[in-house]
Symmetry: C2
Subunit: 446 residues, 2 copies
């Protein structure tokens, strides 16, 4: 009997982070970090590390900040008919075709296409399929990818709408160039891990004292790059930038994140003032849809780099950010793009254009996801650590079965099979919205 | 007692158009034209044309093609807390602020921002608010707009993210320039109507014989511009283009619509072959997100023009289409953009860049909406009919209380108060999904 997907469970999981203002910024003032969580159930079994055979499942999620999470759950439900009954062998034998089918429903694509809630749901579902594959293979996702040949990897990528900048042949060429030296980089990662930077110090709702204390704690933990939220008020931004510079010194890198609050000319003017604090990058200076606006800002504020990506909704948008020279740092987000397949397309385009990939992880589960992507990117695609860092945010990891491990400011490669996104059953129960204990006793989202 | 919004009703209305292939194209092969329909109920009354006082309501909808319509309905529900209890006077006194509030919920914006289902829901809700205002004023929407001063109109526009190309002052200047001559153009429209073109002949699922017959019928009805669907197969495209050219002659305009099926280089190659039939425009040659791709196609295939807009999800994307010279025709869609406010922003930018607006209406309710927009655009913004046409599709009008009126290939200005989008109660009942008679007896969507 062949192993099939037998059921799709979608759950609305929300953490009441707005109560502490962890995650607050100029645009997103009171986020409740949330997951539209999906489980692909199968009729197959696997030998889990805890002993006897257990049911094979794929877990995935997309990330939201509270209200609207129910729309992503509903969108996962809308994708169910494309999943239930599907043979797992056939799916993993041609993940590129699977992706085209998930994103290609001729009626559902109207409410995207490849954007908004339907694409967020695609991320959850596609990542769950990859988790399923990796668990079945008994490997962490990054290792599943690293063990694939260039030809196998290219078959997982959808090239639709990007062939004008990257053909399958060019993608193969990039991967083949790095293939002979993969082993050394894998060994290096296993020993030393992938470098991280921290966003946990500079949330906009934090007091100056808390900012100062968190900088010191970050330094003690080995971080060399610090990010601060800006954009609510320029005088506050200047004062907070001064504090953080005082704490981290002139040598360490300071990044700034405006979370889309500025118009193009405002962004240029604000960065004119904040340039005094030597920022390495300004993140999301304006609307995530404004490719030409980002390019104009990049030209005006050089040598400060422009970074964006957490709201860049598909590979077509990334293609244009690269083509127009709009970004110096590519902050790909594996829960905003339509899962691993589309992330691979963006990594390959970034390599072609020479743009370093520094994934977005500010949210629940994104660190768990993106560590796999950065490891794969370094080992198989970029072969460089220059200007490459993976964001780290220090909350909510306790809800995962295999949480990230940070040592001396670096992500250590995960070893458990899968995509590291499986949440503990008790966390799922406690934080389910609106019926879980965290919401029933703690009150509704404000 | 002040008049307030007391209730928000959202309904899932679907027409089983896939059974006839009306609306079929290369990307959307079996659409069921659908509406996520919203009613804003109030505690106020109005004197309806049918006699005694009746309850004041605002009706609106967004358009989808079937599956996924339920996600837009759910997104309207998510916006409900921003609507119920709102004072109608305060809302209509500052529609710009209202729009900012509807689109600015700090958690909901994460699942957009301003794109996908949440923005489609915004369209339904915002248009319902305008319908409410127009009904209360006792005017059709176009006349409500035409009677506003330039200052009042500019207060309805959100300039966020577009100030680098259009300031409120520039928008005022555009409107003031046309203000003294509004009266003559209004009179002209009342007498002659706004020119239309027809898409009803060339649906891709139709046979060659049906195509030929529908061309003849279109000519008999006074149409001078005809659109054909292309992109499924280039040999079919060539044959169908030849048929339609034979039927309409060399002088009349032939437009082509690829509905996003091509990559950039494919689009250029295909139009190289189809250029023999002298197309006036190619519509949606590639991904709606690919601004730079559209610009590259436009450069390569000139003098054939590029048209797009039905999937252009917000004013930031239109801004860039204009900035990059990517479009010769702006096909704004009032159910894809976030309602009248955002449409106004696009009309004003189009005027600044000298791009004619030819709204998209291929769908249910879009002709009813966009006739108001084209009338306003001509009377108050563009003051020109050159290269300006409003699409006409001949099905599903019978479900509206005030359907469009076409005379000699022109849209005649509607006279009933509101935005013409109110559907007949019996149509709403019959086509409600999945419980309406049309679905219970006719079977589920294939």
């Amino acid at each position: 009997m062949s192993v099939c997907i037998t059921e799709v469970i979608a759950r609305d999981i929300r953490f009441p982070t707005s109560r502490s203002l962890a995650g607050s910024d100029a645009m997103n003032r009171r986020p409740d970090y949330s997951a539209a969580y999906v489980v692909l159930k199968t009729n197959g079994s696997t030998d889990g590390s805890t002993g006897g055979p257990e049911r094979l499942e794929g877990h995935g999620m997309t990330f939201t900040i509270g209200r609207g999470n129910e729309l992503c759950v509903a969108a996962i439900e809308a994708l169910r008919p494309l999943l239930v009954g599907r043979r797992v062998d056939a799916m993993t034998a041609d993940m590129g075709a699977f992706w085209d089918e998930i994103t290609g429903d001729s009626q559902l694509r109207w409410v995207g296409p490849e954007k908004g809630t339907i694409h967020l749901a695609t991320a959850a579902v596609v990542n769950a399929a990859w988790d399923l594959w990796a668990k079945r293979a008994g490997k962490p996702l990054w290792k599943l990818l690293v063990d694939m040949s260039p030809e196998e990897l290219v078959r997982c990528v959808s090239f639709r709408y990007i062939t004008d900048v990257l053909s399958p042949e060019e993608a193969l060429e990039i991967l083949r160039r790095r293939a002979p030296t993969r082993g050394a980089r894998e060994e290096e990662m296993r020993e030393r891990g992938f470098p991280a930077y921290t966003t946990s110090a500079g949330w906009i709702g934090y007091s100056d004292e808390k900012l100062r204390r968190l900088c010191r704690e970050g330094l003690a933990r080995g971080f060399s790059h610090f990010k601060i939220k800006v954009g609510a008020n320029i005088e506050d931004d200047v004062r907070r930038a001064q504090i953080i510079r005082e704490e981290i010194g002139a040598e360490r890198k300071l990044m700034m994140d405006a979370n889309q609050v500025w118009d193009v000319n405002q962004a240029i003017a604000s960065m004119g003032r904040l340039a005094a604090f030597d920022p390495w990058w300004i993140e999301e200076p304006t609307s995530p849809d404004d490719i030409l606006g980002h390019a104009a800002i990049a030209r005006a504020i050089s040598p400060i780099g422009v970074a964006t990506g957490e709201h860049t909704h598909n590979r077509v948008m990334f293609k244009q950010l690269f083509q127009s020279g709009a970004v110096r740092f590519c902050q790909v987000d594996g829960a905003r793009l339509g899962g691993v397949n589309e992330v691979l397309a963006v990594l390959l385009m970034a390599a072609k254009f020479g743009v370093p990939v520094c994934p977005h992880t500010g949210g629940v589960g994104l660190s768990e996801y993106m560590q796999h992507i950065s490891l794969f990117d370094y080992i198989c695609v970029s072969a460089s650590l220059e200007d490459r860092l993976l964001e780290y945010v220090d909350h909510l990891h306790e809800h995962f079965v295999d949480p990230v491990v940070i040592q001396a400011g670096r992500y250590m490669p995960p070893g458990a099979p899968g995509y590291s996104i499986t949440m503990k059953p008790e966390s799922l129960e406690q934080f389910e919205f609106p019926g879980g204990a965290a919401w029933v006793t703690g009150g509704q989202s404000p």
